[in-house]
């Protein structure tokens, strides 16, 4: 080390840099290596899962995605592995979740940034933090044992009222169980609310004070100020937040596995049981062998590809929105 060098010649002290500089280089390589670990894991996930799922892809071809039948143990003939029903369940439950979660999340974010008296802001943030901290399996437990049974009469009532109306009648069809698409969507909504709220809140808080002042100085009410100054500035960021929420909802496994009902089913009836890609994997993995296992891993591949795609898009949108905001503030 240069500091402890006792050499009387200052030039040799400076010349000592070689060994210590090596320490610097080793350290920077080591940190870079840990950073690259992220890329390595993502790459390995893709490679290993695709390789392991290949027997199922090979056997089914494109039908793996377009086939709605999932029959691992048929009485006669070959097993059929079609992911379409589960993809449908994933899509429907996630859409229901967003339908409920987005307005609520935007509302809470507005509450935190524009409305809340200072003494309520802390408690409101704590509620969101706690909502995020409750493990998904606990929401699932609550969903299957409490919410599902409690909602059956509500679903029945909705069916009785709207059953005869065109379109609505097919959405709100006959109720057989509290474990269905709708319950899965509602439980998912609770689980994605914290993430959508926290990102939306960050986006709202970057709206320049000057823009809000401009609207207020024109005699805008608070709501008109929000519509005129806050929303136009944050549209991109909110879209990104919603997509992140979508990614979470699609990948959520355990809560959905407990409350969606476990039926291979494509139906417009939101009160019918179904299944989602993630849920099927965890329900059936233990009893699977051979091509069946490969097919379940194949579901994982599809899920991975879709969530990564959505997340990359969402992150790019959020980053671009943030960069634009910072540019306009500077």
């Amino acid at each position: 080390m240069t500091l402890t060098n006792k050499s009387p010649d200052p030039r040799s002290a400076l010349a000592q840099r070689g060994r210590s500089a090596l320490g610097d280089r080793v350290f920077s390589w080591w940190t870079l290596g840990t950073g690259l670990l992220v890329l390595a894991i993502l790459g390995l996930i893709l490679i290993t899962t695709v390789r392991e799922a290949w027997p199922a892809f090979d056997a089914m071809g494109f039908r793996f995605i377009t086939e709605r039948v999932w029959d691992p143990n048929p009485a006669t003939g070959d097993a059929i592995f079609g992911a379409l029903s589960f993809a449908y369940g994933t899509a429907i439950s996630s859409l229901i979740a967003l339908l409920f979660a987005v307005p609520v999340s935007v509302g809470i974010a507005l509450f935190l940034t524009e409305l809340a008296p200072r003494r309520l802001r802390g408690p409101a943030v704590t509620v969101i933090d706690l909502l995020a901290a409750v493990p998904s399996v606990v929401f699932g437990l609550w969903g299957i044992l409490v919410v599902g049974p409690a909602l059956v009469p509500v679903y029945q009532w909705i069916h009785d009222v709207f059953g005869g109306v065109p379109v609505l009648g097919s959405l709100f069809g006959p109720v057989t169980t509290g474990r269905n698409f709708m319950t899965a969507g509602l439980i998912l909504a609770i689980m994605v609310t914290p993430i959508i709220t926290s990102i939306t809140r960050e986006v709202f808080s970057t709206v320049p004070r000057a823009d809000k002042d401009a609207a207020l100085a024109l005699g805008a009410t608070r709501w008109e100020m929000i519509r005129g100054a806050v929303f136009p500035h944050s549209f991109g960021g909110v879209v990104g937040a919603v997509m992140l929420g979508l990614g979470r909802a699609m990948g959520e496994t355990i809560a959905v596995a407990l409350v969606i009902g476990g039926a291979t089913n494509i139906t417009a009836n939101l009160f019918a049981p179904g299944n989602s890609m993630a849920a099927v994997i965890v329900q059936q993995f233990g009893e699977s062998t051979g091509t069946f296992t490969a097919a379940l891993i194949g579901l994982g591949v599809v899920l991975f590809a879709m969530t990564v795609l959505i997340n990359v898009l969402a992150q790019v949108i959020v980053r671009r929105a943030e960069a634009r905001m910072k540019g306009s503030v500077a």
């Binding site: 240069t2 500091l3 320490g23 610097d24 350290f27 920077s28 940190t31 870079l32 840990t34 950073g35 690259l36 992220v38 890329l39 993502l42 996930i45 899962t49 392991e52 307005p103 509302g107 809470i108 507005l110 409305l115 409101a124 509620v127 706690l130 901290a133 409750v134 493990p135 998904s136 399996v137 606990v138 699932g140 437990l141 609550w142 299957i144 044992l145 609310t193 709220t197 709501w223 992140l244 990614g247 990948g251 496994t253 355990i254 596995a257 407990l258 993630a278 994997i281 965890v282 993995f285 379940l296 891993i297 994982g300 899920l303 991975f304 990564v308 959505i310 997340n311 969402a314 980053r319």
Partner: protein, 304 residues
């Protein structure tokens, strides 16, 4: 209302109505409606949280006692009694092992991003991909570890679960630690550099200690989240009914997996165990979360 010294003489520019009545009914209504909707949104978040915590405490509290925490899991769902000791041991060991792997690696990754990579293209890609990795479904991470570890060693183990949880924690630790490192003022780095310290020494002896409480708090939150992960545990650890403290040999289990398995049983004994396990898990998770909050709030005071 007091009169002004010299009221306006021009009629058109006279005193307008400044009371609330002057606001058109439609505008007033819309504003009130929006305000009410925002309050409703907050209520809609509070109600499920309150309900789920109430149910867990009420139902879980009913079965909670010393033997629940210390006894083995009955090997039949039907049977009354027994406890969750193996799952508690499993959760603590698996999550702890995952933290031991993920936190150091994550902190070094954060050091790369904030101290070396900064805004270079590679660092930006890693940053983006770390964010994307936080969105990878935990079930996929479970499949990944199953293929690349369980199939390799030929056995489901607690360590496989720890590997999966570590993969889930890693990006969270990286990103939260990077945020904390970014808060360290540049003056500190320059002061250390000016004393002739090498960059690696500056980073390890000055920058890291300055950010350590923030990093600890962020890491604890990641640990809390990981402790509640279920899907990978079910896929890679198998199941046991008596405690297994060896992570590298033999099956294991954890609280979330036990909640999942017992919740879908029609037997009351199993459902009771699920509630009890849920209460235990929530206490563990909230414990981590509260400790993290305490550390970060103390850190915030120091910052000021």
């Amino acid at each position: 209302m007091t009169a002004t010294a010299s009221p306006a003489t021009r009629s058109a520019a006279g005193a307008p109505d400044l009371t609330r009545a002057a606001l058109s009914g439609r505008r007033r209504f819309t504003n009130h409606l929006a305000t009410a909707a925002i309050w409703l949104a907050v209520l809609l978040a509070v109600v499920p949280l309150a309900l789920v915590i109430y149910e867990v405490v009420a139902k879980g509290g009913g079965v909670m006692n010393m033997s629940f925490l210390t006894e083995d899991i009955p090997n039949s769902y039907r049977r009354d009694g027994g406890g969750m000791a193996p799952a508690i041991v499993g959760t603590l060991l698996i999550t702890g092992a995952a933290a031991l792997m993920a936190i150091p690696l994550g902190v070094f990754g954060a050091i790369y991003l904030n101290e070396y990579g900064k805004q270079r293209p590679l660092a930006r890609v890693i940053r983006l991909m770390a964010d994307v990795m936080t969105g990878v479904p935990s079930i996929v991470m479970g499949l990944f570890i199953y293929i690349s570890w369980v199939l390799l060693v030929g056995q489901q183990t607690g360590f496989a679960g720890a590997l999966a949880l570590a993969c889930l924690m890693l990006p969270v630790v990286i990103r939260s630690s990077e945020e904390m490192l970014r808060l360290v003022p540049d003056e500190l780095r320059q002061a250390s550099m000016a004393l002739g310290a090498r960059k690696w020494k500056t980073t390890l002896t000055v920058v890291l200690p300055a950010a350590i409480s923030g990093i600890t708090s962020g890491s604890l939150l990641a640990v809390a989240r990981a402790a509640g992960e279920t899907a990978p545990i079910i896929i890679v650890t198998g199941i046991v009914f008596s405690p297994n403290v060896n992570l590298f040999d033999g099956f294991n289990t954890a609280l979330p997996a036990q909640i999942f398995r017992n919740a879908s049983q029609p037997f009351e004994a199993a459902q009771d165990r699920a509630w009890g396990a849920a209460l235990t898990l929530i206490v563990i998770v909230l414990g981590f979360t509260i400790i993290a909050r305490l550390i970060s709030s103390r850190f915030a005071i120091k910052e000021r």
